[in-house]
């Protein structure tokens, strides 16, 4: 390493005394910038440019002593070494006192000693510089910490949550303003440092403590609670409590409570309106059935009693009345089934079973099923049986009912992946035009007149409702022949999201 050395020469001194450069024979690697005092006075020298400053001057220099010393000050913390032409004990003392690192005399100059002193001064200065920078670094860290604290304070203030910290005795150690403002004004200075339990009803208190204890014992607790706050408001809160170790090693819990009252009210309303709707569909389809049954019976009786007397036209029309009544009855039955699907599949428990063995008996339930061959994946699956049964029965029934030939081939391939199952259902029937890809899943939609092919148009709506219930989906895929449905059926763990 080469030292950068600034040599300043008191020119008057150098002229009169012919001072020699003390670094001329130095073995310390260095690079010199040499300036006369006058030159130096007029140039600006930055203080971190040099490792060391050598100031050469005359014992009887015309430069006022004070000026010399201010020069030493000027370079601080860069070390300054003063070199005088003659030894003078008093002057040496003065120079050192003013802060020069060392003082040498040309009349008794020792090159090795000077080199050593210079290196030493530089080393010392560097050490000082490092320790200084360490201090400034810790100052900087302190500032950063303050910054960060201010940032967290801001979060604490603006977050729409009630934040609090409790110790093992359930005493509140810290709380954000939002939390403290839950208390009436006269109580707000009695929140931190207190349990505040006495401000809650007995019914509210016990669950708090149970969840606190749970968090202390297991590290975390979570609850949805309806609380009557000290200010009288009743709110539904979603609260999590997380244990952490404080600086003194004691366990504390951090509580984070979010007001979910509106959300819960909406959910409740939605559930109720869904239930109402199901109840409506159930009642409507059920109650509409009984007058229809009465009509069907009366028609039958008339035919039984007077059928022989009918002219041919009336017999035909009677047949039509009966078939329409039968159709309406079917529509109502399917609507009834649709409205009761959730009830029917119940909890819809997932079971393990062989897929191909499961499909065969379902297929056999349909008329003419023996003319339609099945190609089903031989795979063990974990799926809800009742629900899958309804889905497959409807798909298979559609294939057979709508097939343009009297025989056909149906393939059901099941692939398992991380998130669940992909079921590809493919037949060789007439297929479904792309433009109906959405419509077919709507209620009461049929693609052929009901007089041609009897059907309520509820089959695929039922299928979709079931698959929706399990968080999956079904879609019509592009297919060169026949129909191709792809069902994505999530596995249980994906659904329950824990």
């Amino acid at each position: 390493m080469t030292y950068q050395v600034l040599v300043i020469i008191d020119s008057k001194a150098s002229k009169s005394s012919n001072l020699e450069d003390p670094l001329l024979f130095s073995e310390t690697p260095h690079q010199i910038t040499s300036l006369s005092y006058e030159e130096f006075d007029h140039t600006s020298v930055s203080d971190d440019e040099f490792d060391c400053v050598i100031f050469i001057t005359h014992l009887h220099s015309s430069l006022p002593t004070s000026l010399r010393y201010s020069l030493i000050d000027k370079f601080h913390p860069t070390p300054v070494i003063v070199v005088l032409d003659q030894y003078d004990e008093e002057l040496e003392r003065k120079v050192i006192n003013e802060g020069a690192r060392n003082c040498f005399f040309l009349d008794c100059f020792d090159q090795a000693h000077f080199d050593y002193a210079m290196q030493d001064a530089i080393r010392l200065a560097k050490l000082q510089y490092h320790s200084l920078s360490r201090v400034s670094k810790s100052n900087q860290l302190f500032r950063q910490l303050k910054d960060e604290n201010a940032f967290y304070d801001l979060i604490e203030k603006t977050m729409p949550a009630y934040i609090f910290v409790k110790d093992e005795n359930f005493v509140i150690l810290r709380a954000n303003d939002r939390f403290i403002n839950l208390y009436p004004e006269e109580l707000r200075n009695q929140v931190v440092g207190y349990t505040t339990l006495e401000h809650y009803s007995l019914e509210d208190r016990e669950p708090f403590l149970i969840k606190d204890r749970e968090a202390f014992d297991y590290g975390f607790s979570e609850t949805l609670e309806k609380i009557t706050f000290p200010d009288g408001k009743v709110r539904t809160m979603h609260t999590t409590k997380t244990r952490f170790d404080s600086l003194n090693g004691r366990p504390h819990i951090l509580g984070l409570s979010i007001d979910v009252t509106e959300r819960e009210v909406l959910i409740e309303r939605l559930q109720k309106s869904n239930k109402d709707l199901e109840q409506f569909a159930y009642t409507a389809s059920h109650d509409l059935k009984s007058p229809l049954n009465a009509i069907k019976k009366l028609v039958n009786w008339i035919e039984e009693d007077y059928g022989e007397l009918f002219p041919a036209e009336v017999t035909t029309q009677f047949g039509l009345i009966k078939s329409r009544a039968e159709r309406m009855s079917q529509l109502l039955s399917d609507l009834l089934e649709y409205s009761r699907l959730h009830k029917r599949i119940g909890e819809g428990d997932y079971e393990k079973f062989k897929f191909n063995e499961f499909v065969k008996p379902i297929h056999a339930l349909n008329e003419n099923s023996e003319s339609f061959s099945l190609d089903v994946s031989d795979i063990e699956v974990l799926l809800p049986k009742t629900a899958l049964n309804i889905v497959l029965l409807n798909l298979l029934n559609n294939t057979i009912k709508h097939h343009h030939e009297s025989v056909g081939v149906i393939s059901i391939k099941v692939d398992e992946n991380k998130s669940g199952y992909i079921i590809d259902y493919q037949d060789d029937g007439p297929g479904i035009d792309d433009m109906y890809a959405q419509k077919i899943f709507e209620m009461f939609q049929t693609l052929q007149p009901r007089d041609k092919v009897e059907g309520s148009g509820m089959g695929l709506a039922i299928v979709q409702k079931i698959i929706d219930y399990y968080g999956g989906n079904i879609q019509l895929m592009d297919s060169s022949k026949g129909v191709h449905f792809r069902i994505v059926w999530p596995s249980k763990n994906v659904l329950s999201n824990d």
Binding site: H286, K289, S290, A294, K296, K297, N300, W301, S329
Partner: protein
């Protein structure tokens, strides 16, 4: 064989005219000559039972959903009223609800039938009843 089989009356508690007509037609079809009495709801049925209008032995065929007083209510009244608590009752309803079935049997009904949409099923029920009162011994006093 119960020698009094012809005397067994059937009290039908049914609000729907056509449902009652169905029973009448089926009686005629099966040539059952036993007396057939109708009450249009629970209130009327209770009055008939209390007044002793229908002579024993008889059995009751009861619908569940009716205006004024429904089947379950009537069952409750019958079972808690002295003198008629021993009435033999069959349920004939359109409800296949598990809860309705359970509740009915808790009132000790003799049987629970769900009304079929088509007529054929009803003939079976009637022939069962016909066999029942011919073979079973019923309370006569």
């Amino acid at each position: 064989m119960n020698s009094n089989s012809d005397e067994v009356s059937l009290l039908v508690v049914e609000d729907d005219d056509i449902d009652f007509m169905t029973i009448q037609r089926s009686f005629a079809k099966m040539k059952i000559a036993n007396p057939l009495i109708r009450a249009i709801d629970g209130v009327e049925a209770l009055n008939i039972l209390m007044s002793g209008e229908v002579s024993k032995p008889f059995i009751v065929l009861l619908d569940l959903n009716m205006p004024r007083m429904g089947g379950h209510e009537l069952l409750n009244s019958i079972r808690s009223t002295e003198g008629i608590a021993d009435t033999v009752i069959f349920i004939l309803t359109s409800s296949a609800d598990e809860k309705d079935i359970l509740k009915s049997y808790q009132y000790n009904v003799a049987g629970y039938f769900v009304k079929e949409e088509a007529g054929q099923g009803f003939l079976e029920i009637l022939s069962l009843l016909n066999g029942y009162w011919r073979i079973a011994c019923l309370p006569k006093k």
